[in-house]
């Protein structure tokens, strides 16, 4: 049975639920301890962004098993209907912060995962898709 779970991201406690669900899915797919930690941490960063910055918009997270020529992977899609990001290149830089953190959220997440895609539109929202392939 393939894994696919959708969870709401509305309040702070959802960050914990999201990362625990992602970790459980990674474990179920046979990812090792270090990859489980990378995935859980990446999910924690992305869902926190939704709570922090998309406060007036609903967010959700989809955790699903994917497959390609690279084998089996875990894909996580975090979307929100928040304000969007006006300068994507800027937010992807290490150390860039809008004032609430260390500025490692997005750039750090990219380093932890194998793939990362960010789609955003000002006033509409942001969708971040990350993938980790099982080694």
């Amino acid at each position: 049975m393939t894994i696919e779970t959708r969870l709401p991201v509305k309040q702070e406690q959802d960050i914990v639920t999201a990362r625990q669900t992602a970790r459980a899915a990674a474990s179920q797919l046979g990812f090792g301890a270090i990859d489980q930690s990378r995935i859980a941490t990446a999910v924690s960063e992305l869902t926190r962004n939704v709570i922090r910055y998309a406060t007036n918009g609903a967010g959700d997270i989809v955790i699903r098993e994917v497959s390609s020529e690279r084998g089996v992977g875990l894909q996580i899609v975090v979307s929100d209907e928040g304000p969007g990001i006006s300068d994507v290149n800027q937010v992807m830089q290490d150390g860039f912060t809008s004032g609430h953190g260390l500025g490692l959220g997005l750039s750090g997440t990219k380093r932890l995962m194998d793939e990362m895609d960010l789609q955003t539109e000002v006033g509409i929202g942001t969708v971040v898709t990350i993938v980790k392939w099982r080694r």
């Binding site: 990362r19 301890a33 489980q36 930690s37 924690s44 750090g108 380093r111």
Partner: protein, 122 residues
């Protein structure tokens, strides 16, 4: 659910679990600061051996707890970080410059004991 803080001698000990959210982590920081003030504790041991995820928020807070406690005269040791967590923190780019860590709680208490010149277990 708040993180319980116990006192053994002049050392405050807290165990962080996987369920710790942002609110609980901030609450722990406040609790530790007020407990240091009330008890004159000179050591803080944060046992993170069962913690499987440290993201940039919690990492930053561990740094802040350490620096804040130091200003109040208490040294903090973070004990029992899992290898997977350590690797993830490095990749994330988080620098825990102010944080002293040990392999496990026993070594953490020993380190705090040295810091107190052996007064910690009396």
């Amino acid at each position: 659910m708040s993180v319980p803080v116990i006192q053994v001698g002049s050392c405050l000990i807290a165990t962080l679990t996987e369920e710790i959210g942002d609110a609980e982590a901030l609450d722990l920081q406040e609790t530790l600061n007020s407990r240091i003030e009330k008890s004159s504790a000179t050591g803080v041991l944060l046992d993170i051996s069962v913690l499987e995820t440290i993201d940039s928020f919690l990492g930053r807070l561990l740094n802040e707890i350490t620096l804040g406690a130091r200003l109040l005269g208490a040294e903090t040791v973070v004990a029992g970080m899992r290898p997977a967590v350590a690797m993830t923190l490095v990749e994330l780019g988080l620098k825990l410059d102010g944080v002293r860590s040990t392999l496990d709680a026993e070594r953490g208490l020993a380190l705090l004991g040295q810091h107190l010149n052996g007064n910690s277990h009396t």
